[in-house]
């Protein structure tokens, strides 16, 4: 709700600030509810939208678009191995607090071509500018972009397709009509996903909007996951019963004497 109000506020602000050339973003995701079924092995969503302009007489200015998709936040520990007494053991570690479990940042061209480094930082364009809160001692802060733990974290998440950045993923079909695909890997975390779309033109921020979708387990998957957590003892007993039945059945089926 707050998110929608914020979006509305941004849109209103944009409208009131420059009513002559006000732009609005209309976006939609192809599927607002991704369901995980037994044969789920990754999926691709399509995000499409258009820039609505009040001033239809003048030709549209060149637009740039940055789409940020962030999955449900989670805590992570990144550990670094070091050689001690001839063996490689976990030595140093960092905690990442409430960072997106899935993060994709797509744009229609390189961030440096879209806008200035200052604006890239304040609008959080690109993986280098996203806030990844770390616990450093008793402090909570994000560190510089080339911190080894931060880079390792992004690299390892990227290897699983959970963090990605592509500055050629957004395509403008017409000067005001755009689309991009949102790839969800097989190991996609379940929960609410937030999609933020930022419109820029000639290096300046124009407007932003957001939408969302959810990834949920349904049917059998959801049943198993919830019983494992909410009815743990019963679930455990069921597994034990299943094991004993399988074992007993095998001894009956394969009995030779």
């Amino acid at each position: 709700m707050i998110r929608h109000l914020a979006t509305a506020a941004i849109v209103l602000a944009a409208l009131s600030a420059a009513p002559a050339c006000a732009e609005r973003l209309i976006v939609s995701v192809s599927n607002h509810r991704v369901t995980i079924t037994p044969n789920y092995a990754g999926e691709e969503l399509v995000l499409f939208g258009s820039v609505e302009r009040d001033d239809t007489a003048a030709p549209p200015p060149p637009y740039d678009l940055v789409v940020t998709i962030s999955g449900p936040p989670a805590d992570f520990v990144t550990r670094r191995k070091e050689r001690e007494f001839g063996i490689w053991a976990n030595a140093d570690s960092r905690q990442f607090l409430q960072v997106p479990s899935y993060l994709a940042i797509f744009a229609n061209r390189a961030f440096d071509a879209i806008t200035t480094p200052d604006l890239q930082r304040s609008l959080k364009l690109g993986l280098d500018h996203i806030v990844l809160t770390q616990r450093v001692g008793t402090d909570y802060a994000d560190v510089v972009a080339d911190d080894p733990f931060r880079r390792a974290f992004i690299r390892l998440r990227s290897e699983h397709g959970l963090y990605r950045q592509n500055t050629a993923a957004v395509t403008f079909l017409t000067p005001t009509l755009f689309r991009t695909t949102i790839p969800l890997p097989a190991e996609v975390p379940t929960g609410d996903y937030d999609v933020k779309i930022k419109l820029l033109s000639r290096g300046a921020f124009v407007t932003a909007t957001s939408t969302s979708f959810e990834v949920v387990k349904v049917g059998f998957e959801q049943f198993v996951a919830t019983s494992a957590h909410q009815r743990a003892l019963l679930y455990g007993l069921t597994i034990v019963a299943m094991a004993l039945t399988t074992g007993w059945l095998a001894s009956v089926v394969f009995r030779r004497d």
């Binding site: 520990v77 490689w88 976990n90 390892l156 975390p189 998957e221 034990v240 004993l244 074992g247």
Partner: protein
């Protein structure tokens, strides 16, 4: 065919997991061990998190050890009294092991402890079995009869008090070493996430001098009991037992175990021990290499919690 695992949260190839279950089941049926020391590393290699792997493997071992135990029971090759005394130590050992497991995990050194214990235990046990197996083979090749069991060389173990008669095994033995061995197996099993039969069987044969006829059956009965408890404990405390993964592993495991048991009967005892020694030693060496060589990826990520 891809199938989604609801607790591990990732899709896996069903036939790959089934094949792994069968292969490990074959080995476990052949040697009369649970195979946890093979299955857990294999699952981690496929990408399943260690917590889910350890928890789900315990139910797989429970299933295959019941199949084994039932067939040994029919052949009257289980000593119930011995199994009960072992189990009494095993319960205490498991509780102590779970305590240490929790402590080490909070210190962030659980993975290292598991790896080092794997290296130390598997290399020692595997090396000893290999050595003994080679010795027995050379002995047999020279045409000498196998060394007879010397009934007089019982040593201090048999001088301990609290003696008890184990009818099926035809033994008159103090319960103290039996309880201690049960305790050690329970402890090691809980810390390392294995059934521990590959440790228990040599201990029963060489320390307690249990006759071979009742050793494997009794060991499987103990494994059945401890792994059933472990499954339940993992389900209640960690919520990490994956029902779908467990079921695929069980089906593969019990099927493979049947063929393994048949293959095992065609191989001579000392060759069987030699092979098992080789297998255990190679897993130990693999862990040792992993610890000693600089890993390609120095960093690891672990999720510690989701949205509150």
């Amino acid at each position: 065919m891809q199938i989604y695992l609801p607790i591990a949260d990732l899709p896996v190839n069903m036939f790959l997991i089934l094949a792994m279950g069968m292969a490990v089941g074959f080995v476990s049926g052949m040697f009369g061990v649970g195979g946890g020391f093979l299955m857990t590393p294999l699952l981690i290699f496929v990408g399943i998190s260690p917590a889910v792997a350890v928890a789900s493997v315990s139910s797989h071992i429970a299933a295959s050890s019941l199949t084994g135990a039932l067939s040994y029971w029919r052949r009257r090759a289980i000593d119930p009294a011995l199994a009960l005394v072992l189990l009494s130590g095993g319960i205490v050992g498991t509780a102590l092991g779970v305590g240490l497991f929790t402590l080490l995990r909070s210190l962030g050194q659980l993975d290292l402890t598991i790896a080092v214990s794997y290296v130390a235990l598997l290399s020692t046990v595997g090396g000893l079995m290999l050595w003994e197996g080679i010795g027995a083979l050379r002995h047999a090749r020279r045409g000498l009869p196998p060394k007879p069991r010397r009934s007089g060389s019982h040593g201090w173990i048999h001088g301990l008090p609290l003696k008890m008669r184990f009818k099926r095994s035809k033994m008159y033995l103090s319960v103290i070493p039996v309880v201690v061995i049960g305790l050690v197996i329970g402890f090691v099993g809980a810390v390392m996430g294995i059934g521990g039969a590959f440790l228990l069987i040599p201990m029963m044969i060489y320390i307690l001098r249990v006759p071979t006829s009742t050793t494997i059956g009794t060991a499987q009965t103990l494994t059945l009991a401890t792994m059933t408890m472990a499954t339940l404990m993992h389900a209640v405390t960690n919520h990490q037992v994956d029902a779908v993964l467990a079921l695929i592993l069980m089906i593969g495991g019990v099927t493979g175990a049947q063929f393994g048991a048949r293959a095992g009967q065609r191989i001579r005892g000392e060759q069987l021990r030699l092979l098992l020694g080789l297998l255990i030693l190679s897993v130990g060496v693999r862990f040792a290499v992993e610890l000693a060589i600089q890993p390609q990826e120095l960093f690891t990520i672990r999720e510690t919690g989701t949205t509150p």
